[in-house]
Symmetry: C2
Subunit: 350 residues, 2 copies
């Protein structure tokens, strides 16, 4: 099976995976609506493990204990799992064949094989245990899984970045409704990440400070603050491009999540749950996408600062946005923050 | 009434209009579906001119002749129009107040008033006369209107760019179904345009040639060609980020559409119609966005080359795309081109 192709735009620093592995014919789109309707049997529910590939990692409940299995024996599909990480059936990025020279991923400046990885994290045996309603211990396991997959994938010589994200709701691109996140490892540093890395490096050089540390200090005082706890700040960013957008940023400076301790994982899970629950209440359970922003290159550790960006899917980017890169947001971040702050407040110290 | 705010991201060269003029409350989104359903009375149809502001420009049919009125008397709303250009009721960008110092639009590096313009071009008195099915003389009038509005708006001292685009179908952001395009004039050069300008300038400096002239020469020979006529080349771009995406590029080098002659306007209208009709047939009348890419700064005339980019709305950009700037396209441009080429062929010389 050939790799998907990774191609760069003629002019822009904009990359696309031409996904031949799940290639579609133009006429397939007429049937698209039918394809995405929910099937009666969920391939991610307990008991249906044979409908998906064997897991690459499992959190298992065994004799009252929780054990993680990093590399389950091929073919085994135990049913006593709490978290199940499986390969994506139609991966956008795939691991290299053994014979491949992984030092030379890009075949030219604007073309390469889409080498990397693409996994699905089944977040719970319970079909509907979304973060907004999840039991905190289960949500902590999800965060631990993010850390585990980042550790494993970022160590591979052909991986330059690991994107960990969640699509919730059909309008936000979730084709299956069982709670899940995705992990994609890429052979290039993505353009948006690269731009963040360069801008934060420049800021650090000029100010001898982390730009994100300065941002949370400023936003924690202002009208865009949503929640603040000893470990995290939640706010609607100054130039939110999505209505009701918010970011969760840790107070402790760190470029990525690899060295979070258990208390920080618990605090992150709690903050994630409270803020997503507030969003669900204020906007009637909207579809959303969230993604971790992080750096895995050692050089970025002083100037980059990991965080999570949550983008509710409440508007359509159309001809203007797509052709200019300027966005129109009809909910001011200040109003978004106010409504989320009010919704989150009563549960501030549960 | 205050201006909308134009804000830049903390780190990225990414701008957003915080649209206070059409500001929404977070709870409005629960009602969104009902809002966008079609009303029984179309405010853009003939006879309903009083439902929209007076036009800023009209093409009128008078005594068998077609006359353009660049600045109709305020308040007049004649019914014998062929094209009607009206101010957007909820403009993203607005003209400056007379007292405003237009030399100083941006109040800081990352903030300013959203000064500019926002107009709607009603493309035909006939509700459904979409480009794919339009009479060619009418479609030529639409192109002439694009040229007229670009000429008028780009001459204003506070305008740095004019985006002309079309949203077709509710899923592509069209809130009204009557055939229309939009024009937005901005006080900054948009990031995507800026990136194209810089990359094409660099290419021109290094190669003494226009990069787009080279692109169409290459694509006209290859598997991504869709249509070629004496004046235009239509192809699926190498790194298409949308399924079935195609670009219409003029063979004659020009930075924008201001000096198109009547024959070129007719050829453009014909190419636009044939290619959109092919798309409609191949993919079952999909929603799409198209946008003109052009340069209005004199300095760009040798290295920039205007063209139209058509983005069918057939996939959802989700957590991965939004957080990395890498796209996943499940239809290869080569397959897209083949299917559109076959659909367009029989009508090549009508």
């Amino acid at each position: 099976m050939p790799y998907n192709e990774l191609r760069k735009d003629y002019l822009l620093n904009r990359w696309v995976v031409i996904a031949t592995e799940r290639s579609r014919r133009p006429t397939d789109f007429a049937k698209q609506k039918a394809e995405t309707t929910q099937t009666t049997v969920c391939p991610m529910c307990v008991g249906n493990e044979n409908m998906t590939p064997p897991a690459v990692m499992l959190y298992l409940k065994e004799n009252g204990e929780i054990n993680v299995t990093q590399d389950p024996s091929a073919g085994e599909r135990p049913k006593n799992w709490l978290i199940r990480v499986i390969p994506n059936l139609y991966p956008a990025f795939s691991p290299p064949k053994q014979t491949e020279d992984t030092a030379q991923i890009l075949k030219s400046e604007c073309f390469g094989d889409a080498i990397g990885g693409h996994e699905v994290i089944v977040e719970s045996p319970n079909h509907d245990e979304d973060p907004a309603d999840a039991e905190l211990p289960q949500l902590e396991l999800v965060i631990h899984t993010y850390i585990d997959r980042l550790r494993e994938l970022s160590a591979k010589p052909y991986v330059k970045y690991v994107s960990i994200f969640r699509n919730f709701g059909k309008e936000a691109g979730a084709s299956l409704s069982h709670v899940h996140s995705q992990v994609i490892a890429t052979p290039i540093v993505p353009p948006l990440v690269q731009e963040e890395l360069e801008a934060s490096k420049k800021y650090h050089y000029e100010n001898r400070k982390c730009v994100f540390c300065d941002i949370i200090e400023r936003e924690a005082k202002g009208s865009r603050l949503i929640d603040e706890s000893p470990d995290f700040v939640v706010f609607a960013p100054y130039a939110s491009i999505n209505p009701m957008e918010f970011w969760i940023v840790p107070k402790r400076h760190a470029a990525n999540i690899l060295d979070l301790d258990n208390a920080e994982v618990a605090a992150f899970a709690r903050t994630l749950k409270l803020s997503l629950k507030a969003l669900k209440e204020v906007v009637n359970d909207p579809p959303y996408n969230y993604g971790l922003h992080l750096a895995i290159n050692e050089e970025a550790k002083d100037h980059y600062h990991w965080h999570l960006e949550v983008y509710p899917k409440l508007s359509i980017w159309a001809g203007f946005e797509l052709n200019t890169g300027i966005y129109i947001n009809t909910v001011t971040p200040e109003i978004a923050a106010e409504s989320l702050r009010k919704a989150i407040k009563p549960k501030f110290f549960p």
